[in-house]
Amino acid sequence: METPKIGVYVCHCGSNIAGTVDVQQVVEFAKKLDSVVVAREYKFMCSDPGQNMIKEDIKNLKLNRVVVASCSPLLHEPTFRHAVQEAGLNPYLFEMANIREQCSWTTEDHEKATEKAKALVSAAVKRVRYHQPLETKDVPVNPATLIVGGGIAGIQAALEIADAGHKVYLVEKDPSIGGHMIQFDKTFPTLDCSACILTPKMTSAGSHPNIELMTYSEVEDVSGFIGNFKVRVRKKARFVDEEKCNGCGVCMEKCPWKAPSEFDLGLGERKAIYTPFPQAVPNIPVIDKEHCVYFLRGRCRACEKFCERGAIDFEQQDKIVELEVGNIIIATGYDPFDPTPIVKYGYNRYPNVYTALEFERLCNAAGPTGGKIVLRDGSEPKSVAIIHCVGSRDENYHRYCSRVCCMYALKYSHLIKEKTEADVYQMYIDMRCFGKGYEEFYERLSKEGVKFIRGKVAEVTDRALTDEEKGKLIVCGEDTLLGTVIRVPVDMVILCIALEPRSDAKQVAQLFRISQGADGFFIERHPKLDPVATMTDGIFIAGCCQGPKDIPDTVAQASAAATRVLSLISKGKVELEATVAVIDEEKCSGCRVCNILCPYNAITFIEDKEVSRVNEALCKGCGTCVAACPSAAITHKHFTTEEIMAEIEGVLV
């Protein structure tokens, strides 16, 4: 080993460190440590002059090891590694002592803080002596991208990447892309027709030469790492040959069997062979085995008889497709909250209590009532109550605010006023109209004769106390602005239900090795500064799977995710950490303990040599195998036993 010549640099960080730790004392202490050639202090070591001080010393004093005592390595290790590298030293010949986050900020006693800082500096100095130069490896990035979820987020991201000239696989579990947005009637605050703004995007995604649409498909397995993922997708059997079908729709016309339409939330019907809605992309139907009488009783085949193209294939099987992609965007959206458990609101007990999504279908010109806002008996409501925060901002269900309900509630008021003569009551807790043009929309609605009642609704009941209430649904609660108990008799109640994580969010999180927050939504890498990346490199999130959000925010996040993917594609390579495990094949006894323990399946057994070997591209450098190896045959680069022991010795000075 060359003679270590160590430079130690202690940062004041303004008064963040120097206000508690006696920096001068730490520098004097460092000067006396073994192999330390120079020790200096500076106001802000991460600034240009601070970094230049280190670079100059490396050149002039021929330093071959550097220690910086400042903030957390999680913050500035890359900064200083870069500085050291610029001065011609291998970046791994550097070590950081965390005397801010883990010392000056947590210790009250100045003297004790100074002692702790000395111990941390001593540990870094002892450790850095053992550091070895390490080389990082570049691996190429596969330019293809997988996008999971074909709602507005997935479509937007797919189009951005495909337009830039790169291959996209867009996987959607339903028979058509479009997501929740295509179920909506109008969009707030502009009152654009949802389908009018979304269907062109759906069509583009469906016909784009760079987008391979995989509808009625689900991701089953994901392996690999950033730049090089392998994905297994199950294409569920449609029983319709996608190559032959021209979407003429005769099969659906002739099919004699009906089932409740999922797309219309059971308010309308569809056939047993169906597309969810007429503008479906792709316009290829699927046969629902649960309701097709041929699958149930072995007779019928009407669709087959009438299909001129011979596209019906009752023998079709699920198909497994293997994909190779460099990056993955998850845009799996949300589930609407089922308000049945909130018994007091009467959903599923009183027929004229609707959820918001049901109302969207009711209001939609292409919906089951042709856009007429009517009660179950077909008559027009004379009064409608819209109850906010159903399942949101409620500690029994979801504590969070679902962010879109206030605005769609206002939108409903407008649509009801436009289409009927009904009185509209908004039963709200707080009006949250925070987006661009939202407050203005609220003001506009305030002038349209909508009645706003502030207070959480206690109950929806049909028990009438007066003649006027007979045959009505009575919304009971408190008007907190007037301080009185109220009873509002209405014909129709709309529940503004929460947006909640998908019921299979946990499985999706495990599949893609990403994390969920306490609320169940996927967690971004940083809540402010990195809202689209996840803790797994190469996997990004967009839309409501990350948290409730409206369409503009979803589109913005999807574009951001696409941009992140594009920048990785254009860079063309990713750098792999050098701090991986290596197995000394001379020492390896072939016991395979490490094979089983490795959480990343990075260790394989070489049968003919009877030894284990680490795949550096898969190894995340956790060191679990190192600790477990009974033969001490595995070295954890940059976290060798020697290095850690030297550090222990240092902290215990």
Binding site: T106, A627, A628, L652
Partner: protein
């Protein structure tokens, strides 16, 4: 003088070490007796490291991950 234990804390880079940083960012105060050694996973902490800490005079060892 009262007894001041010397504690070595092995902390996982991704969770406990980051949490210790967060404690600092939130200016939470705790006794300076614990000295943190960063590892990339608590799975890296083999018995020999813990014994080494005791051998060198630690009064306690924390493994957090």
């Amino acid at each position: 003088m009262s007894f001041e234990p010397r504690i070595v804390g092995f902390m996982c880079n991704w969770c406990a070490y980051a949490a210790a940083d967060l404690a600092g960012t939130a200016r939470k105060k705790y006794p300076p007796n614990v000295r943190i050694v960063r590892v990339m996973c608590s799975g890296r902490v083999e018995p020999a490291l813990i014994l080494k800490a005791f051998e060198l005079g630690a009064d306690g060892v924390l493994v957090c991950g």
